[in-house]
């Protein structure tokens, strides 16, 4: 393993540490804040389940390789992860629960600005949406579930001590599930970008089970998350569990449940897929993040108990923290990339060519765009996506999102299907036999654009064809996209 890779891996571990220090509060904040579970116990349970979640469920083929995947140079990835980690660490120092994903997306936007890449407006809308929708939904579910839970408890006439025991068990179970999900969902953000340069090799324990190199990498990331939980998460836990509203143990449990219900109903692609496949109406997916949902649920219960209980100044600080997280992360990333490039002489992004060629225009026409005005740009090449977008704006009257889609099509990413690399693909065990066979028929061929490769593969075998974009096919297409990214990353020519 190269020393530089090891150095770059350190920023992933730093990000893992920050994530553990901040996001553990979403899972155990109310339990620790209401003094139902001691911090040491919460940290232990959280760590064990984060590690299990990351290594068992985090390495599945269907998972995306992390949001940092868009950054195309390892020094850039290093800095994006580093900027996000610094931002989250700063917010954690202030005791504020923030979204690590938003810090990462902020850093990517910083990288986009630095490298002249365009930013998908959908991503920005998602962040802003999370600030509003997640707390509102969390609040509504918290305010609905709390009185309901109290009614059920009152009717059951359980002994005070028994309620205490059940609540404690409920908090431990909810916390353990939450920590498992935290590990499974976030490990890709922490370590995903290093999957291709994993320094580990597979090893088997007898005939019982095999631990893949990716799982070992994820284990390392999960340990970093656990260290974050142990060393630095108490502050944020106390803000969530005690700082905003003094919570009773039952309220603490309701907060965790309300958060999980909101995430399950409004952010679960699996649930949407299940409902759609069975012909049932789906619940619209909205951007929600657990940090925001937890704070919303706490406030929902606080409002129910009387507004005087809520410490508005703390809420104000948390809201400012949400606004600041992506902004600071983007700014830190932008400035740091400048230094990394100009002072340390590191390549922080790979130069990407954007070329409007005949096939690109034909592809646009296929997608139903009016291409007459785009023809004037045929044959022109651009060194940055923003330049192409500006030119498109001059010559066409398309919206930002439409121009963005066109620019993405014109993005050149030369790929040569080198038979020597088939073994690497096979080892990843992500492709089916049919998909592998189709790929092998393309041996030796080259493609200028990613979509060209996708089309060629689709022509070879239906297993490579994207299905009509609808709710039922969403998961299938997402999985296929991940596989295609794997092929592009493996065969891409620098």
């Amino acid at each position: 393993m190269e020393v530089t890779t090891l150095l770059f891996l350190s920023s992933g571990l730093f990000l893992g540490w920050s994530l553990g220090a901040n996001d553990a509060a979403n899972v155990f904040g109310t339990a620790v804040g209401s003094r139902m579970i001691k911090f040491a116990s919460a940290a232990l349970i959280c760590s064990v389940f984060v590690v299990l979640g990351a290594t068992i469920s985090g390495a599945g083929a269907a998972h995306t390789l992390g949001e940092l995947g868009g950054v195309n140079a390892i020094a850039g990835s290093f800095m994006a992860a580093f900027s996000a980690a610094v931002t989250v660490m700063w917010m954690t120092r202030l005791g504020l629960p923030v979204s690590t994903s938003q810090a990462i997306v902020g850093a990517i936007i910083g990288w986009n600005l630095f490298s002249g890449s365009a930013t998908d407006l959908g991503v920005l809308a998602k962040i802003v949406g999370t600030w509003v929708l997640a707390p509102v939904l969390g609040g509504v579910f918290g305010a609905l579930l709390y009185p309901l839970t109290k009614k059920v408890l009152a009717a059951s006439k359980l002994h005070l001590l028994r309620v205490d025991a059940y609540t404690r068990l409920g908090l431990i179970l909810a916390g353990a599930f939450g920590a498992y999900a935290l590990g499974a969902n976030n490990i890709a953000n922490v370590m995903g970008v290093f999957v291709h340069s994993s320094p580990f090799t597979d090893f088997s324990v007898g005939d019982l089970f095999t631990i893949s190199s990716v799982q070992q990498l994820f284990l390392l990331g999960a340990i970093a998350i656990s260290v974050g939980v142990y060393t630095y998460s108490k502050n944020v836990m106390l803000t969530v569990g005690r700082g905003l509203v003094p919570l009773s143990p039952v309220a603490a449990w309701v907060v965790v449940v309300a958060q999980s219900v909101v995430l399950f109903l409004f952010a679960s692609v699996s649930l949407e897929h299940f409902l759609a496949s069975n012909g049932l109406p789906t619940i619209p997916l909205v951007p929600v993040s657990s940090s925001q949902a937890v704070v919303g649920a706490v406030i929902g219960i606080g409002l129910l108990q009387g507004r005087r209980n809520i410490r508005w100044s703390v809420l104000g600080n948390i809201s400012l923290g949400w606004l600041a997280t992506p902004l600071i992360s983007a700014l830190v990333c932008f400035v740091a990339l400048f230094f990394l490039q100009n002072v340390f002489n590191q390549q922080v992004f790979s130069e990407v060519q954007y070329k409007v060629t005949g096939p690109v225009i034909d592809k646009l026409a296929q997608r139903g765009y009016a291409t007459a005005s785009v023809r004037s740009l045929e044959g022109q090449a651009f060194t940055s996506e923003m330049n192409l977008m500006e030119e498109l704006a001059k010559h066409t009257d398309l919206s930002y999102q439409e121009r963005y889609e066109m620019a993405e099509l014109a993005k050149m990413s030369p790929v040569r299907i080198d038979p020597a690399k088939f073994e690497e693909i096979r080892k990843s065990e992500m492709l089916t036999q049919e998909q592998l066979a189709a790929l092998e028929t393309l041996a030796g061929r080259s493609f200028d654009y990613p979509w060209m490769l996708a089309d060629a593969l689709g022509d070879q075998d239906p297993a490579w064809k994207f299905r009509t974009a609808n709710t039922v096919n969403k998961m299938y297409n997402k999985e296929l996209r991940t596989k295609l990214d794997l092929v592009l990353n493996t065969f891409g020519r620098p």
Partner: protein, 222 residues
């Protein structure tokens, strides 16, 4: 298999619940014994009779057991960090209830040592005072049990405690008026007044516990 698992999972909680119930049982028992002690004292001509001595001994035993039990419950609650939100209230409640048992014991000892001589015409009213006090304590025990299992019912029992305490007040006032209107010497009048106050004190203590219970209940319902 499942039953065994459930047992081990909540076994400690059940045991503690049982201890708290047992503590309240002890208070209830000592209440009955105390009242019986007063009755024997009045009916059998002072503290020299065996029936009274037996009740005194029983209340004394219960007081020691209750003290021991209360300490164990308190240690358990703290050591296991149970009911963080209501722990302080629960401890105060146990201490206050334990104090009522102490009052039973102290009063019977005072009767035993000082042998106050109540004229027979005051006996009926003194027994009625003792009965109202005992009813106040019994309602307090039920209110405390409700606080643990059925918070909504606490209010009803607290209401009864207040009613019995008020009745006890009336009897005590009437008794003291009759004592001081009598031909007894001033020293004896003062002596009897003190013992009327002692019997009445039990209902006052019960009411104090009920007042705190009302607050603890509001905290739990909120």
């Amino acid at each position: 298999m499942n039953k065994k698992f459930a047992f081990s999972l909540f076994g400690a909680t059940k045991f503690l619940e049982h201890q708290v119930d047992e503590f309240l049982d002890l208070l209830s028992e000592s209440n009955i014994l105390y009242r019986a002690g007063i009755t024997y004292y009045l009916d059998n001509g002072g503290s020299g009779n065996d029936a009274f001595r037996q009740k005194l001994q029983q209340v004394d035993d219960i007081e020691s057991r209750a003290d021991d039990l209360r300490r164990r419950i308190e240690i358990e609650l703290y050591e296991q960090s149970l009911i963080p939100e209501s722990r302080a209230d629960m401890l105060s409640l146990l201490e206050d209830l334990d104090y009522v048992i102490n009052v039973f014991e102290q009063n019977l000892y005072a009767y035993s040592v000082e042998n106050p001589e109540f004229p027979p015409e005051l006996h009926r009213e003194l027994k009625q005072l003792a009965e109202q006090s005992a009813l106040a304590v019994e309602s307090t025990v039920i209110a405390a049990r409700s606080y643990l299992r059925d918070v909504a019912a606490v209010r009803d029992h607290i209401h009864k405690v207040r009613l019995y305490e008020h009745e006890a007040d009336q009897f005590a006032l009437s008794l003291k008026t009759r004592i001081f209107a009598s031909d007894l010497g001033l020293a004896q009048k003062a002596h009897l007044r003190e013992f009327v106050d002692k019997v009445e004190q039990v209902s006052n203590e019960a009411e104090d516990v009920a007042d705190w219970l009302a607050i603890y209940t509001i905290k739990r319902v909120a």
